[in-house]
Symmetry: C2
Subunit: 412 residues, 2 copies
C-alpha cells in the first residue's frame, strides 16, 4: 500500500533560489567557498529553515549543519543531505539541492506523518568541491567518517595560501575538535544530487537511482624530451614530448570510448614548457582522469592507459613518470536501498532509470560508515560546475518525492 507524498513546488523553488543568493554571481552563478562569509550566511539560513521545519539543529566541529527529527525508537539514524559549498563559480544546484532536499523531505514527512520510528537527519555538509582548498577532498564527510588526520588542517592549503586551520578559526571552529564530528550512529545515507551528465535528458527521464559511484583515478604525468629549434631539427631524430603527449592523449580517449559506457577518460590539463610556437618543447605535464564503476573494468582501463604511456614514451625516446593524485575505489550503493528506491519511485509514479554516478560524491565517503545510495535529478544539457547548470523545479520535486518516500520506507 503506497503512501501519498505532497511536495509544494513553490516552496522548493523558494528554498533553491533563496539559498543561491548566498554567494550569488551574476544571474545564476554561485561562489560559496567553505568558511567564507557567504558560506557562514548560507549555513545560518539552512539552520534557520531546519528549525522552522521542526528539526533540532546541531552544528558539528567542522561546520556541518544537521537537522534532526528524533525517532520514537532508539538506534541509528537515517540521514540525507549533500554539500553546501560550491564551485567558483558553480550554479544553484550542485550540492545545495541535496542539502535542501534532505531538509524538505524531513519537513514534509514530519508534517504529513508525524514522528518517525527511527531518527531522521538532514545535513548540509560543509565542503566537497575543493574549490577553496584543492586537497580538502570531502572535508565535511571525511570529518563525519573520521578520516581527517590530526595534521590535515595545517597541511591543507588554500589556493590563496591560508591553511584550513586558519580558515576554521576565522569562523569560530577549533581544528583540534575535528574528531568530535565523527559519527558512528548513521545507519543509512541517501544523497540527492543533480546528475551533472546528459543521460537522464537523453532518456527523457527525470530521476535516476544510483547503484554505484564510479572509481576514479587521476594520473599526473610528466613527459620529457629534448628542447630544440623547430626549424633545424629533422622529424626523424626529435625527442618531442608534444608528439608523445598527443599520441597518449588521443589513445587514452579512444581506449575509454571503445570500452563503452560508463568508462570515461579525460585529459583536462596540459602544461607545455617552454610553450613557444617555434620551439620543440622540453616537457609536457598532463592529467589523465579515468573512471569506471566496476572494479575489474576499472583495472583494465588503467592497465591499458599505463601500457600505452610506457609504449609511446619508449618508442619516442621520451622520459616518462607519473604519480597518482586521486584513487577512489568504486562505491557500490546498498542493493536493498537501491531496490527499495526503485520500488517507491514506481509507487509515487516517478519514472526512473538506474545508473552509476560518473562523478565523485560525499556518499563515497559515507559508505565507510553507513549504507548509501543516491538519487539523481536530470540536468539540462548535462551541464554542471558552471552558472549555466539547471534542473527544473518539476524534476526536483519528483526527485524529492522519491527521497521522501525512501526515507519514509526506512524510518516509519
Amino acid at each position: 500500500m503506497s503512501i501519498s507524498i505532497e511536495i509544494d513546488a513553490e516552496l522548493v523553488r523558494h528554498f533553491v533560489f533563496e539559498l543561491a543568493e548566498f554567494g550569488r554571481v551574476g544571474e545564476s552563478g554561485v561562489t560559496r567557498l567553505v568558511y567564507s562569509p557567504e558560506w557562514v550566511a548560507a549555513t545560518d539560513q539552512y539552520a534557520a529553515w531546519c528549525e522552522e521545519s521542526g528539526l533540532k539543529v546541531v552544528r558539528d566541529a567542522v561546520g556541518n549543519v544537521w537537522g534532526r527529527l528524533e525517532g520514537s525508537e532508539a538506534g541509528k539514524s537515517i540521514a540525507s543531505g549533500s554539500h553546501i559549498d560550491s564551485q567558483a563559480p558553480g550554479g544553484r544546484y550542485d550540492g545545495a539541492l541535496g542539502a535542501l532536499a534532505g531538509m524538505i523531505a524531513l519537513r514534509v514527512l514530519k508534517a504529513q506523518f508525524g514522528q518517525p520510528r527511527r531518527t531522521l537527519e538532514a545535513v548540509a555538509l560543509c565542503e566537497e568541491e575543493s574549490s577553496r582548498f584543492p586537497s580538502a577532498n570531502y572535508w565535511g564527510s571525511r570529518a563525519i567518517t573520521g578520516r581527517i588526520s590530526p595534521t590535515d588542517p595545517d597541511r591543507t592549503i588554500a589556493f590563496t595560501g591560508e591553511t584550513m586551520s586558519e580558515a576554521m578559526r576565522a569562523v569560530g571552529l577549533d581544528p583540534a575538535r575535528i574528531p568530535e564530528a565523527r559519527r558512528d550512529d548513521i545507519d543509512s545515507f541517501i544523497e540527492l544530487h543533480i546528475e551533472q551528465g546528459p543521460i537522464l535528458e537523453q532518456e527523457d527521464t527525470p530521476v535516476a537511482i544510483v547503484d554505484a559511484i564510479t572509481g576514479i583515478r587521476h594520473y599526473n604525468v610528466r613527459l620529457k624530451g629534448t628542447q630544440n629549434h623547430a626549424g633545424g631539427f629533422p622529424m626523424d631524430i626529435r625527442r618531442d614530448p608534444m608528439a608523445g603527449f598527443a599520441e597518449i592523449a588521443s589513445g587514452v580517449v579512444n581506449t575509454a570510448h571503445r570500452m563503452g559506457r560508463p568508462a570515461v577518460t579525460t585529459v583536462g590539463r596540459a602544461v607545455v614548457k617552454p610553450n613557444y610556437p617555434a620551439i620543440i618543447p622540453a616537457s609536457v605535464e598532463f592529467s589523465i582522469d579515468a573512471r569506471h564503476p566496476r572494479a575489474d573494468r576499472r583495472r583494465e582501463l588503467y592497465a591499458a592507459h599505463e601500457g600505452l604511456m610506457r609504449e609511446v614514451a619508449a618508442r619516442r625516446g621520451l622520459e616518462i613518470d607519473w604519480d597518482i593524485q586521486i584513487d577512489h575505489e568504486p562505491a557500490p550503493s546498498d542493493p536493498e536501498i537501491v531496490s527499495m528506491l526503485q520500488r517507491v519511485a514506481r509507487e509515487q509514479g516517478v519514472k526512473t532509470l538506474t545508473m552509476a554516478s560518473g562523478a565523485g560524491h560525499d556518499s563515497q565517503q559515507m559508505a565507510s560508515i553507513a549504507k548509501v545510495a543516491m538519487i539523481f535529478v536530470r540536468s539540462k544539457d548535462g551541464r554542471s560546475h558552471t552558472p549555466d547548470e539547471f534542473s527544473s523545479i518539476e524534476d526536483i520535486v519528483q526527485g524529492i518525492k522519491v527521497l521522501a518516500a525512501g526515507l519514509h520506507a526506512l524510518a516509519y
Copy 2:
C-alpha cells in the same frame, strides 16, 4: 689558383667570448635584447673592433652597425653579417658569430690582400630574435630592405609593454628616421650562422653551404568544444577539444615525418582552458609551425595540415578557426654564390655539405634587395636558443675561412 687565408683561432675565440660578456647569464648564456644597455655596450664594442680592424664604422637609423672597407671601384657592396641580439637567454653563437665572422673576414682580407676592388661591408644587425618585441620580425634587416612601415614603431609592443618607438628613443634613435636605414646598394649578402640543427654533426662535417632558407608558416589554431564534467559525460557524446587537439597534433607531426627531410612540423604551444584535471576543456588554442624549403612541397604540407584540421573538427563536432601569424616563402640562395662557395671551400680544404636552412634568418629579408647565401657552422647536439648551444672554435675558423674566401672571390 687558390689563395691561402690565415685565420687566427685565438683571436676568433677572443672575439666570441668577449662579445658574450655583454649580457652574460651564468656560465655560457647571453641575454642581449635589442636596445638594452647590454646591447648598446655590445654594439659599441663591435664598432670599436671594426675600427681597430681598419673598417669605417657607420651606424644606421635603427642601430645596425656597419664596418666598411671601401673598394677601389664604384658600385654596390658585398656584405656579410648577422644579428647581435639574442634569445633570453640564448648562447654565445646564434647571430653574434655571424656579425663577428663578417668583421673578422674583412679584417683578414684587408691585412692579407689590401684594398678590395669592390666595397666590402661587415654588419651587426640590431634585431632578429623577437625576444624583446614578439612582432619585431627581423627589425634590423627589415629596416635595410625598407620593409618597416611608418606605423610599425608604435605598434610593435614589447613583452614588458613599451613600444619600439620608446625603446629606440631611449637609446638616442629617432623612429621617424628609420627609412634612412634603407639600402639599395648591396649586391650580395653572405651570412654565416650556426646550424641550430644536428645534420652537420651527424654527417661529421664542420661547414655547410645553404642553398635555401625554408618557407615557414605559423598557424594559431583555436579549437572549441563544450566544457563538461569529466565524470558525468559519456565519451560518445562529448565535444572534447583536447581529444581533437591530440588527434590533430599527432597527425600533423606524422604528416611531416612521412614527407621526409627537410619537411618539419612542430606543435610547440598549447593553451588549454580551463585546464583542470576533472573538466572536459572548453577550448585548446595551439600553434602549428610547418616548414619546407621547396614551394610545391610546402603547399602540399600545408594542404595536408589544413585538411586534417577540418576533418577532425567536423567529425568531432568542434568549432575550429585559425589565423596565419607568420608566412614566409622559401628563399633560395643565389645559385652562383652557392657554387662559388662550394668551390672556394674545396680550395680551402674545408669539407662541406649543401643543405637548406630550417630556421628563418636575416638573409631571407636581405634576399629582397640582394643576392644571398649562407654558411652554416656545426652545432653541438644541434642545440640552439639555449645557453648550451656550442660550436668549436676549430669549426668556426673553418666557416670563416670559407666566408673570407667567398668574399675574396666576389670583391678582389
